[in-house]
Symmetry: C2
């Protein structure tokens, strides 16, 4: 995208009300614009990142055997009366009435609706197991939304729901999501650690939350260093096989948030393997048995002809929140440092002298080689402005091209994460970036 | 996707309240499930089609130079008070209050919000022209929603908004969208005809709606047969060049809905070139000048240093509605006939004898060759059920494989649209399907 024609605005001032790095940087880099308290529009730079994050989530859900659907944002209150949650859910639920005065709500989550859908179609044991997920905007009317997209009111969530015939099946579904989550976050360049969690308003008796470490994290966490050293993407899991060894590795090493912290277990870890840090929650998985299926009358015919009430679990990832979390985990004084997999563009081509024929030609050729995955800073701005904006926006690679390099046929490449600089021919520069 | 593990439910009965073909077929094929009046969940089959339609819309918007953003669904009423539309918009607007009792609404469209966003960042003539679009769920509280996704309350819309310095620029933006719309619909296998339209509540003085012909269309339309014969995809347009010849071709031939019908102009067409039919609206474009920019104080500095109030247009496509419209235009007694470009899966592999080693092996090989773009009907069902479901769900190709063909190494291919049948080797069958 040519910046002279793009809608990629940056702000020079640091917004006064932004307390954490991701919020400040997302506003300064023109990724989002707040349109009401805790509600954001995603501008082109932010939208590209959000789509990349969403696509990684989708691919790993699909790989684990979950099937994508899309449930609507507006739900009837009747569904929530069936589960008993309509009255139990507090003022965070955005309630409304339609023109016929029917009680509706903007979905904060979808256990009821997915149970109703599954109930409509599932007849027999042959229709299970199934895991249905969607990636849809949710609304939770936080009393004091803050921290930008990390704690917004309208937010994008991936929520999956598993249906199994028995406890063993439900545990298998749980482990599939457990492993899928590890892979999802690892692909985004994040070290996410599963920790045992309270089940809260979803209910149930088994639950893990996934946290990444970041200085601005909302929770204090304690963990065994083994967990940070593990290479999640080292081998592809067989989702139909036994996933217990992977899950056991993670659950047998100590990892806990403040609320679940156990001093005795913690002290049993050698001091040099103890890691105490701040954490940000980016995913949460629950097994809750028949809580919703029983309340809502979901039954199928078992293999023996008798009715079975399916066991369920739900599995959430805060997709829009992840964009902020990635920035919290990966930035410096100058701006964002995008992991390659979620970068809005892989490369920024910085033309230091527009109008110089050799410089323009070299920039054009490099830009053309990246077919939509590069920005070309062809604005009539000083070099310093271009450097600062590219650092702020955090593209993994910058190609700095001026008359001297162009005359020699050389491109100066800068790797944003390390500051490393290389002087390469055009062909080598292209190969280097594409090979990264 | 293996049907034995998929959530691709079909209904045997025709739903009583579904009046039109697309509604009936979408329910029977398990594409959608109504969760409240006029509100639908998209099940895996429907969701795949919706995503394909959305992606074509996106690619053609990008190609025409529009830039994607994502605005939220919930808006503050304050924005609509600035334009004067908050009171003017009727009961179709879903109004609500948040926990702090602030007036909010579920966006039925986004002229106000995009003007506010653009106003925040645009400073000078260098920041124009720009065209920003998003593909987001909207809500219009229809008093009597019906016809399934063709007239639902929560629906997916692509809406683009152009900002230009003057009338000539605005006309260029309008023509870019005009041509992009022709290409978008043509890629989906639809013959869409632009017709001059009233501007309605959006305001402004130039507008076209795009209609496709279908027996169940809501409007009577009249057009010159030339328009049906034109090959829209015959040549790629140069969006930065002069698009007038293309637009002039379409606007110089007669095409009108009932409301705009002109008997004299119609009678001037040779009788054999007159086409009178029913039409379904699938897109609408508007030029409305400074209606919103003036009301909301959007100004930039012109090249001469003087303030300029940008000229705007808006451009909508009903993305979820299109799924229904495509079915209205392409179905038969047995079910849906998907155009290749939007088919949920390209191929259905029908195994007529599970457990027969040669049959299973041939099915497995064919299924594997399509890597996610085929369904494999491996359910323990009779052949008749598999034939009927494949016809209903409308996959462009069916591969019918039983013991006799498998022993001879032959696949029977059926083309859904024509009923044509071919007996081919595995390799030839794969080539035939991939080459289509």
């Amino acid at each position: 995208m040519r910046l002279s024609r793009a809608f990629l605005p940056t702000l020079k001032e640091t917004p006064a009300d932004a307390q954490i790095a991701s919020h400040r940087l997302m506003l300064r880099a023109g990724m989002v614009r707040q349109t009401s308290a805790g509600i954001y529009a995603w501008l082109p730079l932010g939208w590209r990142v959000l789509q990349k994050v969403e696509q990684i989530v989708r691919e790993e859900q699909d790989r684990a055997g979950a099937q994508e659907i899309l449930m609507p944002t507006i739900q009837t209150a009747d569904l929530w009366r069936q589960s008993g949650r309509y009255d139990a859910y507090g003022p965070e639920m955005l309630r409304l009435k339609d023109r016929h005065d029917r009680d509706m709500l903007y979905g904060p989550t979808n256990e009821e609706m997915v149970t109703e859908i599954f109930r409509t179609y599932a007849r027999s044991y042959r229709d299970l197991p199934r895991n249905l997920y969607h990636i849809q905007w949710k609304f939770r009317d936080e009393v004091r939304p803050r921290f930008g997209v990390m704690r917004s009111r309208e937010f994008l969530m991936k929520d999956a729901y598993s249906f199994d015939l028995d406890y063993a099946g439900a545990q298998k579904s749980y482990r599939q999501m457990f492993v899928a989550y590890l892979r999802t976050f690892a692909r985004m360049g994040l070290k996410a650690i599963p920790m045992q969690a309270d089940t809260g308003p979803i209910g149930g008796n088994l639950s893990h939350e996934f946290l990444i470490l970041a200085e601005t994290g909302e929770s204090q966490v304690y963990l065994h260093r083994d967990l940070l050293d593990f290479d999640v993407l080292g081998q592809a899991p067989d989702y139909e096989g036994d996933l217990s060894p992977i899950v056991d590795f993670w659950t047998s090493r100590y990892a806990a948030t403040d609320e679940k912290h156990d001093e005795a277990a913690w002290n049993a870890i050698p001091a040099e393997r103890q890691v105490s840090a701040r954490g940000i929650e980016i995913g949460h998985i629950f097994y809750f048995g028949t809580k919703y299926s029983a309340a809502m009358g979901l039954q199928v015919q078992g293999a023996d002809g008798k009715p079975v009430t399916p066991e369920m679990g739900s599995y959430g990832i805060g997709v829009s929140r992840l964009v902020g979390a990635i920035i919290e985990a990966s930035h410096d004084e100058a701006g964002i440092i995008w992991p390659d997999a979620v970068a809005p563009f892989r490369l920024a081509v910085l033309n230091l002298k527009q109008g110089d024929a050799a410089t323009d030609a070299l920039c054009d050729r490099l830009y053309a080689a990246f077919d939509g995955d590069a920005v070309y800073d062809d604005r009539p701005e000083r070099a310093g402005v271009k450097f600062a904006d590219a650092d702020l926006m955090g593209y993994p690679w910058q190609a700095i091209i001026g008359p001297r390099g162009a005359a020699a046929g050389k491109v100066e490449l800068k790797r944003r994460a390390t500051g490393e600089r290389l002087e390469l021919s055009l062909e080598d520069a292209i190969a280097r970036i594409k090979g990264a």
